[in-house]
Structure formats: structure tokens, C-alpha cells
Symmetry: C2
Subunit: 680 residues, 2 copies
């Protein structure tokens, strides 16, 4: 027996070591990036602006969040004390800190690698890809590393207390809270700057994208980092951690094998780390070929290694047959297949997203054609595409849920979520690569580097748009599965035997829950609208009042624009954030089944709105690019003007309100999970 105990301890200690491995790999990648040359003085100056703006925003954002976190921590401290689980608040703070830390590292890496990627593009495409992808890898590996270290360490500390998961779940709540503010705040920031820069700079003044004369250009480049790097990172950190926690909570009930039930999800995450690291090694491209292929190869290799690795892990680790509290019996093979089902569903949703958004595919070409009759038909066509695009991903998701349940019960649903997220390390690296490539193009433009450099960065950037769309689909799919898994975990913790739709409280919850994402989106979109309005006013003012600006003889006041975005983002993220945390607590305090209905409603309508907005936005974007490539009259034609309107409407859809919903549905579930044993 002592051997078994030693083995268990070794396994427990091994988990955080895999997390440390990911962090070491991130450090290695970061040092590789920093070793690269940052180019000319002008390049260094511009990237300095971006770096300062991004870090200043992060600082102010984290200060604002700290206040919020302190309040929640106090509430948790009090409730935890009364319920004899005194350490929930500490786990919460640790989760919040880890999420913040990964955002900090990721963004630092991104704002260092953008300029170096631009400089590398002066030599070769592969060199530039290498730098940009290395920068993205820092974010990816930090997220999975800090997640696994966090949960692994907490399990070592609290694994022996009764009901350890009640305490450890606090880690997920911390991660989620930060994620909400990072996504909403980052989303408002980036789009206020983007819309403002485009509407006045490109449309009114007629100067190109990323032109240094545009006062909002730095804010726009900063926005790519705070929205697409830090926001996406916090989103996936939350999904990753949340899906592991959900599986651990359900795994506790595994009859005769509760430790295995809890450890297995952690071990799966470790396999994912190794698979992701190995996947990064084959990401390289030749001068003439498409960098997309290189990135895909890495992702697919990681997915393949994950499947192989998890098969051996499952056979070794899980008992051949197991039950949860005497219910139906499941097999180790079933658990393995549920993991694979999630992974496959994630890939399918990504591919479907690509179809609905990619340049040259029928949906975006249709929107481009509708642009010939003006902006109204552009918008109508895009809304139609976005709505239609919900159909197949949702069917895939529903099929995945049913399959996973049949294979391994509620545990299977959580494993499917984890399966989808197991290769987060490389998926996020690919995703964070996008804004880095985008930034490197902007720096090349502003530093007036030769056209072949810009051509190379454009090539990297175009790939980035596709990876961003796929990444968004993936983020939504994984958020939905994670939310469902957390929801299942919540029902177990809350001791709910059923949530019956025939109960009018559940119906009321369902309706109010389905309304929440609409309200939430309205706030996010409204924030972008009003911040963009301010930004437009400021850019117009600078063009008018700064003499010589348009002639390139004077410098724009970039800081003012950065400040407008920053203030709007911080101010406008508060209400939605507080709402998302408070509503489930109040609802659960009123009636647990009402809360159950509410969570189901939030998830159902949230997933639809998220897919709708992400794909409508992506499709408008690429319809514009299709016209800019010379079709239907090309740049400057009436069709192009209409397409720009579509793209501008799509911006807050795909980068602010849409992605915030991923967080909303997970956050409301994890709030319920954490507070259920404390309060309801």
C-alpha cells in the first residue's frame, strides 16, 4: 500500500512539473525573441510607443480589477469562513493573479516580437514567421503552464481536505473574473481605436492604414495587443482551467477511484502540454510557400500526438470500468473517446468558421456582391450570413455533447471540453501570432521599410486573419463545452436532482438567461460606439488644429488617442462585469432551479450570438478584402465604400461583444459553482 501512496504523491508532484516545463519553454522562446535585432531607430521608437501604451493600459486595467477582486475576495473570505472552507478566497486570488500574469507575459512578449518580426521580414519570410510565432508561443505556453502549475499545486495543498474541489474551484473563478474584464475592456479598447482610426483616417482623410499621420494609429496597434493577445489569452486561460476544474469536480464522485477521477484531467492537460511543445517544432516555412500550412501542420501534429498520448494515458490511469455513485458504468475507452470527440468537434467548428469567414468563399463573396447595391444590402447580407452560420457549429456541438455523455456521462462532457482545449498551448500560440504579424506590418508601414518587407508582413498578416477566425470559432466551441461542464459540476455541487423546464421558475430563468447575452452585447457595442465617437472627434480635431500634420511635417498626439481608448475601456467594463458576477448569485439565492434555467438560457443564446457575431464580423472583413484585391471595382469603388461600412459594423461584433460572450457563459457557470456550496 505504501508503494501506491508514493506513486500517488509522485503523480501529484509531476503535474506542476509539466506546467514548469511549459513555462521554461515559454522563457526559452522569449529569450529567442529578445535576442533578435529590433531594427532601425524609427522602428524601435514606434514599437516603444506601442509597448508603453499596452503596458500602461494593462497597468490601469489591473488596478481597476484589483479593487473588484478585493471585494470578491472579502465576500469569499467571509462566506468561506462561515462554511468552513476558509481558503476559497486564496484560491480565487491565486487564479486571478495567474490569469493576470499570463496576460502580462504574453503581452510583453507580443510587444517585443512585433518589431523584431518586422525586422526579420527584411531578411526572409521564414525568419519573420519564426519570430512572430515564437512571440505567440510565449503567450500559449504561459497560459497552459500557469494553469497546470496552479491547479497542480492547489491539489497538492488541498487534496487531502474534505471536498477539496469546493476550495480549488475558486482558482477558476479568479481566472474567469480577470478574463471578463480583459476581454470586455480589451475589446472596447481595440475597436474604439480601430473604428476611430478607420472612419476618419481611411475614409475621410483618405490616408492608408497604419499611416503615421493618423493620430489614432498607435492606439489601434496597441489595441491589437490588448484585445487580441491579452484578451484572447485570458479567455483561453479561463476555458482551459475551467474545463479541468469541471472534470475534477465530477471526477470526485468516481466510485472507488476518486483520486484517479480527479487526477486524470490534470494528467490529460500535461499530455497536451507535451503535444503542444512538440507541435511548435515543425512550424517553419519556405520563402515562396504559404505560412498557413506551417501553422496548420503544427496544430495538426499536436492534435495527433494528443490523441495517441491520451490513449496510453487513459489505459494506464483509468480503471477499465467505473461508475459515479452507482449510476451507469463507463469504460476507460469511453473516456478516451469522449476526449477525442471534443478534439474533433473543436477542429470541425474551426473549419466551419473558416468556411463562413474566409476570403473568396461563397459567404464573403456574396456579401461583397451585395455591396454593389450599397451599404444597406452589405449589412443585410452580412447579418444573414452570420445568422446562418450558427447552424452547423451548433449541430456539431450538440452531437459532441450527446456523444460524450453516452461515452462517459457528465464526466464525458467535461472531458470533451478538455479534449478540445488540451492543445491550447499551440492553438493560442497560432492565435497570438496573428496580432503580432498585424503589428509588424504596421511598424513596417510606419517606419517606411521597403515594399518587399511590407509584402512579407502582409502575407503573414493575411494568414493571421484566418487563424484569428478559426481561433474565435475554437474559443466559442470550447467556451460552450466548458460552460456545460461547469453547469453539470454546479448541479452536482448544488445537489440539484433535476432542472425541469416545466417548472415556471425554470422557464422564467431560461427567458431572463437568454436575454442576458443580448443586454451584455448591447453594453459592449454601445461602449465601442460612444468611445469611437469620441475618438473620431479627437482625430478630426488633430487634423484640423495641428498645423502640418497632413503634410507629414508635424507629429500627431498619439497619447491623447491612447488615453481616450484606455479610459473608455476601463469605465465601460465595470457594469457588465459586476452584472455577470452578481446576477447568478442573486438568482441562486432566490431559487436554485431558477438559476439552473438562467444558466441554460445564457449558454443557449450566448453561444448563438457569439457565433453569429464572430462570423458576420469575419465575413464582412473578408468581403472588404475581396474587393480590395481588385474584384467588383476594387479599392475606392462604391462597392468598396459599402464594404468598409460592413467591416466597421463587424469590428465590435467580432472583437468586442462576440468574444465577451465566451467569458459571460463560463463566468456565470463558475460563479454558480463556487457560490453554490457557500450560499445556496
Amino acid at each position: 500500500m505504501q508503494d501506491v501512496e508514493t506513486l500517488k504523491l509522485a503523480a501529484k508532484v509531476a503535474v506542476p512539473l509539466f506546467g514548469v516545463l511549459a513555462l521554461l519553454f515559454a522563457a526559452l522562446k522569449a529569450s529567442l525573441v529578445l535576442k533578435a535585432d529590433a531594427g532601425t531607430d524609427r522602428m524601435k521608437q514606434i514599437s516603444g510607443f506601442i509597448h508603453q501604451g499596452a503596458m500602461a493600459f494593462l497597468g490601469r486595467e489591473y488596478r481597476a480589477i484589483s479593487l473588484f477582486a478585493a471585494v470578491v475576495a472579502l465576500v469569499l473570505l467571509y462566506l468561506g469562513y462561515t462554511q468552513k472552507t476558509p481558503w476559497v478566497f486564496a484560491c480565487f486570488l491565486y487564479g486571478a493573479f495567474s490569469s493576470g500574469l499570463s496576460g502580462f507575459f504574453g503581452m510583453k512578449a507580443a510587444t517585443r516580437s512585433n518589431v523584431r518580426a518586422a525586422n526579420a521580414a527584411r531578411t526572409s519570410l521564414n525568419a519573420a514567421l519564426g519570430v512572430a510565432f515564437s512571440g505567440g508561443s510565449v503567450m500559449g505556453m504561459c497560459v497552459v503552464g500557469l494553469g497546470v502549475v496552479g491547479l497542480g499545486v492547489l491539489y497538492i495543498i488541498f487534496g487531502a481536505i474534505p471536498e477539496p474541489m469546493t476550495t480549488i474551484s475558486g482558482f477558476g473563478l479568479g481566472a474567469s473574473s480577470i478574463a471578463l474584464f480583459a476581454r470586455v475592456g480589451g475589446g472596447i479598447y481595440t475597436k474604439a481605436a480601430d473604428v476611430g482610426a478607420d472612419l476618419v483616417g481611411k475614409i475621410e482623410a483618405g490616408i492608408p492604414e497604419d499611416d503615421p499621420r493618423n493620430p489614432a494609429v498607435i492606439a489601434d496597434l496597441v489595441g491589437d495587443n490588448v484585445g487580441d493577445v491579452a484578451g484572447m489569452g485570458a479567455d483561453l486561460f479561463e476555458s482551459f482551467v475551467g474545463s479541468i476544474i469541471a472534470a475534477m469536480v465530477i471526477g470526485v464522485a468516481m466510485t472507488d477511484h476518486s483520486v484517479r477521477g480527479i487526477m486524470y484531467p490534470l494528467a490529460l492537460a500535461c499530455v497536451g502540454i507535451v503535444a503542444s511543445i512538440l507541435g511548435t517544432f515543425i512550424v517553419r516555412t519556405a520563402e515562396g510557400s504559404n505560412p498557413q500550412k506551417a501553422l496548420n501542420n503544427g496544430t495538426f501534429l499536436a492534435g495527433f500526438l494528443m490523441i495517441v498520448g491520451s490513449y496510453f494515458l487513459t489505459v494506464k490511469m483509468l480503471p477499465a470500468s467505473f461508475t459515479f455513485g452507482g449510476g451507469a458504468a463507463y469504460t476507460a475507452t469511453g473516456a478516451f473517446l469522449a476526449t477525442v470527440a471534443g478534439l474533433v468537434a473543436g477542429i470541425l467548428i474551426g473549419l466551419l468558421t473558416e468556411y463562413y469567414t474566409a476570403e473568396g468563399k461563397p459567404p464573403s463573396v456574396g456579401i461583397a456582391k451585395a455591396s454593389e447595391t450599397g451599404p444597406a444590402t452589405t449589412i443585410i447580407a452580412g447579418l444573414s450570413v452570420g445568422m446562418r452560420s450558427t447552424a452547423f457549429p451548433v449541430i456539431v456541438l450538440a452531437a459532441g455533447v450527446v456523444a460524450a455523455y453516452l461515452l462517459a456521462g457528465l464526466y464525458g462532457i467535461a472531458l470533451a471540453g478538455l479534449g478540445m482545449l488540451s492543445t491550447t498551448g499551440i492553438v493560442l500560440a497560432v492565435d497570438a501570432y496573428g496580432p503580432i504579424a498585424d503589428n509588424s506590418g504596421g511598424i513596417a508601414e510606419m517606419s517606411e521599410l521597403p515594399p518587399e518587407v511590407r509584402r512579407r508582413t502582409d502575407k503573414l498578416d493575411a494568414v493571421g486573419n484566418t487563424t484569428a477566425a478559426i481561433g474565435k470559432g475554437f474559443a466559442i466551441g470550447s467556451a460552450a463545452l466548458t460552460a456545460l461542464a461547469l453547469f453539470s459540476a454546479f448541479t452536482q455541487k448544488a445537489g440539484l436532482m433535476k432542472i425541469d423546464i416545466m417548472n415556471p421558475y425554470v422557464v422564467a430563468g431560461l427567458l431572463i438567461g437568454a436575454m442576458m447575452p443580448f443586454l451584455f452585447c448591447s453594453m459592449a457595442i454601445g461602449a465601442v460606439g460612444s468611445a469611437a465617437f469620441d475618438m473620431i472627434g479627437e482625430v478630426r480635431r488633430q487634423f484640423r488644429e495641428i498645423p502640418g500634420l497632413m503634410e507629414g511635417k508635424a507629429t500627431a498626439d498619439y497619447a491623447r488617442c491612447v488615453d481616450i481608448s484606455t479610459r473608455a475601456a476601463i469605465r465601460r467594463m465595470i457594469v457588465p462585469g459586476v452584472l455577470a458576477v452578481a446576477v447568478p448569485i442573486v438568482a441562486g439565492w432566490l431559487d436554485k432551479e431558477f438559476l439552473g434555467g438562467l444558466l441554460a438560457g445564457v449558454t443557449a443564446s450566448g453561444v448563438m450570438l457569439a457565433i453569429f457575431q464572430a462570423n458576420a464580423g469575419g465575413s464582412w472583413d473578408n468581403a472588404k478584402k475581396y474587393i480590395e484585391a481588385g474584384n467588383l471595382g476594387g479599392k475606392g469603388s462604391p462597392a468598396h465604400k459599402a464594404a468598409v461600412v460592413g467591416d466597421t459594423v463587424g469590428d465590435p461584433f467580432k472583437d468586442t461583444s462576440g468574444p465577451s460572450l465566451n467569458i459571460l457563459i463560463k463566468l456565470m457557470s463558475i460563479v454558480s459553482l463556487v457560490f453554490a456550496p457557500l450560499l445556496f
Copy 2:
């Protein structure tokens, strides 16, 4: 005992007589309209075009629906035969026929009263209001009359067989099927014409609204009738009938008093008819005052009479205390209050809708201001308003559902729906008045009547826009309650003891259900987009190819435009219609709980999308009107151009895809209700 039986028979016979009363009142109103003078030859000619176009469309639409109805009837005949309820198919056909008939009468009255209202406007505002409102009353009274006659007669015929409601529910299915095609087809028709007429006529050619030189102008005027009169009528016919049926189905189970449980909803509807008729008598206005007040007075009087009447009815008719199959005991007062709760919720939702859409209120003024920075910010602001506007109506709805349930169980939810719909007679009269007033303005413009006439019709039309918005809110609220009531009725008929959200099939159903409204809207919006594209091409062609058209020397080929709208509407209504009927059947055949989740998902996301689209559309419309009234630069300013884009996007939202969802959620529930005892 014989006395009781005689009394019961008398009550049964009295119900259809109240329906006949409504029909007689409709006939009286119709004869009043026809007696009025139709004005000049030019006016007669134009109204003749509209009448022909509308009737031709209705004829083709009904032919297409007949085919569909025949197939469904055959299926019902077969299934009914095997399940020993052989007459379901006949009830289905009767319901379909009644819905079609009320659409036919209503539209005939509308296309006769538009020109007479225009002519009456040459004398006084009150005379014009009188004609337009009388025309609307025909529709309103036909709907409630045919509904009550239908259900009353069917109950006399089938009341004595075992499980009568299994057969009688077929009537509701018939009404719903027609409603779907009428709403979707009418919605596509009207908006394809409207968008086409506006984009080329108003924006490109710069000619005023309703200008006879615009080839799409007749199609546009026809569209008001087929979309807003016939479509809305079929929608409310379905809600009215559906809510009565749902209450009857649940009422069957009233312990010891099943006949009272079944008859009470019918009797409530009869009280509503009397209240509505009395309400119409006080709708009159003076030359200087606002016609809105007159319409409101009528509606509020009817509501007040309904509350008083239903109190006495309830006390007389329902036992002081009753149960359903031995569950919780409810009181007659509770049933009365549940009815009132529905009525109050309906009024609140209407008022909220008015706030979010009315000209001069903060939401639409905010959109107007956003138009100053171009069409993109107009669209963003409108989407944000629409999304935000879901919050309060949904909270009202949820509170209504819970209150009604606490007062009288599932029966209470059905009664709340019925309470909201009890005054449909006058509500629909007010609603149908809108497009008649709109048409009369168009006829006045095309016939070149003096400006004071156009001023009077404009005044009537402006009121019509507000009544239309309130009517839409009302239609959505009642559809939601009806769908929930039908859903409850379905669960009873299907013998479902629970629909547990923790069951993965229910989760899958919920997700797929929540997706359906998005898919459905996409089809409807896509149909408008592509039909408008064809219309734009045709109008441009006529301007180009018909010599002297722009100078007013040649006549446009109106028939071609009418034909484009007609064909697009008929062709594009098929797939969504078949989908809405087939999906619940397939789902229920797979698994009843899966279907339960699906219906809940459809209702939850359908209600949100319906409110969102109706209010976004209404608000864009009135933002444009606010600018046209001389604000923010007035007509022709850049802000106005941007606002026109918003209005054009809002058109299919508020008149095609949004309203179709009302039908979708009811239809899918009633399909489930009718097919459950036959198939699942």
C-alpha cells in the same frame, strides 16, 4: 340534472353566437366603408392597381399553401385513422380555411378603405380616421369572430368524444400553418418592394416617396397590405386561437369540472369580443387633436371592460376552488387575476416597445445622433438599442409567467396568454389601421391631391407607425405566452413528467432549438436581400429604358415589379415553412425530451431575436423620421443618408424576419401538441 345539461348546451351554443356577433359587426363596418366615396378617377385607378396586386398575390399564395395543406391533411388523415382520432385532418383544414378567410376579408376591406380614407381626408381628419379605422375593424372582428365560431362549433361537434382536444387542436395547427406562410411570404413581399423602391427611387433618383414615376411604388403599396394587414391578421388569429386551445387542453384536467375548465377560455374570448366592439365606439377625433389619443382610448376602454366582464364571468362560471388531477388547489379569483396579469403584461410590453421605438425618445434620438458619423455608427447604435430593448419586456414576461403560474398553475399561464389576447378584436383593428393610413397617404400623393389632404394623411400615418410598433410588441408578447401555454399543453398530451436540463438530449435540443430562429431569420433576411437585389435591377432598368419616365410623360411598368415581389415571396417561403413543421416532428420522433428542450430553446432565443429585431427596426425608422423633421441637418444631409441606410436594414428586421419568429415559436409548439398523441 336535466337543467344542468340544458344550461351546458345553451352555453355551448352561445359561444359561436358571440363569434357571429363579431362577424356581423365586421360586415356592418365593411358596408360603411364601401358606402363612402372612392374619390377621383385617378384615385380609383391607383387603388384598383393596389387591390388587384394584393388579391393576385393572395390568390397565388393561397394556391401554394393549398398544396402544402393538402399534404399535411393527408398525413393527419392517415395518422388520425391509425390512432382512432379520424377528424384531426378536418379540423386542420377548417383552421387553415378560417385563417385564410379572415386574411381575405381583412385585405379586401383594407384595399377598399385606403382610397376612401384618402378621399375622406379631403373633408376632415376625423372622417379619414373613421374610414381607416373601420377598415381595420373588419380585419380585427373577422379574426376573433372566425376564431370563436370555429372553436365553438368544433366543441359542439366533438365535445362528447373521448379526448376532444386531440381533435380540436387540429384547428390551431391549420391556423398556424397559414400564418407562417402569410407572415413569411407577406414579409418578404413587402420588404423586397420597399427596399427596392427606396434604394433606387429615393436615394439614387432622388424622387419622393410614393412618386408615381417609381416603378416599384405599387408593389410597395401592395406590400403594406399583404405584409402588415394579412400577415399581422394571420399572426394574431393564430395567437388568439392557440391561446384558447392551450387553455382548453389544460382545462380538460380540471377535477370534477372538466366542462367548465374547457368552456371558460371560450367564454373569456366572448367577453373580449363584446369589450372590443364597445371599445370601437369611442374612437373619434377632432380636427386639431392627435388621433393616437382616440385609438388609445378605444383600446384602454376595451381592456377595462374586459377586466370587469371577466371578473363577473369568473365568479359565475368557475368553482370557488378547483384542482387539476389532485395537484395544488387554485381559486376562481386566482384564475381571474392570471387573466389580468396577462392583460397588464401585454400593455406594459406595448408601452416599453413604444419607448424604444418612438420618434423623439432617447433611443431613436441616440441613433439619429450616431448617424452624424456615418452609416456604420448608425447601424452599431441601432443594433445596440435593439439588443438592450430585450431586457425589460423579457423581465415583464418572466414575471407574468411566474405570477400566472402561482395564481392558477399551468392553466394560469394559458389564461394569461388569453388575457393578453382577449381584446385582439380592437388591438388588431388599431394595428390594421396603420397600413391603411399609410396607403391612403400614398394614394393621395400619387393622385396629386392638395397638400392639406396629404398633411391629414401624414398625421394618420405617423400615428400608424407608433401603433405598428406597439402592435408588434404585443404580437411578440402574446406569441411568447401562447407558445409557453401550448408547450405546457404539449407536455401534458405527450405524458412528459419532466424535461430535465441535466439530460444531455435536452441540452442538445435546447442548443439546436436556440439555433433555429437564427437560421429562420437568415432565410427570411436573405430572401429579402436577394429579391430586393432583383427589384433594384428592374427599377434601374425601367428608369434607363422607358423613355420619358423620369419626366412623368410615360407610365412605369408596375406589374413587373409586383411580379418580382410575388414570385420571390412564394418561392422563398417554402423552405422555412416546411422546416418549421418538419423539425419538431422529427425531433419528437427521435426523443420526446429532446423535443421538449428544442421547443424551450426555440422560444427562448426566438423571443429575444423577435424583440431585438422589431425594436431595432422601429428605432432606425424613427431616427430617420427625426432627422427628416429637420433635426441634425434635416433631409439630404449626410446624417440623413446614414439614417436611410439604418432604416433600410431595419425594414426586413421589423417586417420580415422579426415577426416570422412569432409564428415559428407558436407553430413548432402546436405541431408538437397535435402530433404528440398521434406519433410519439
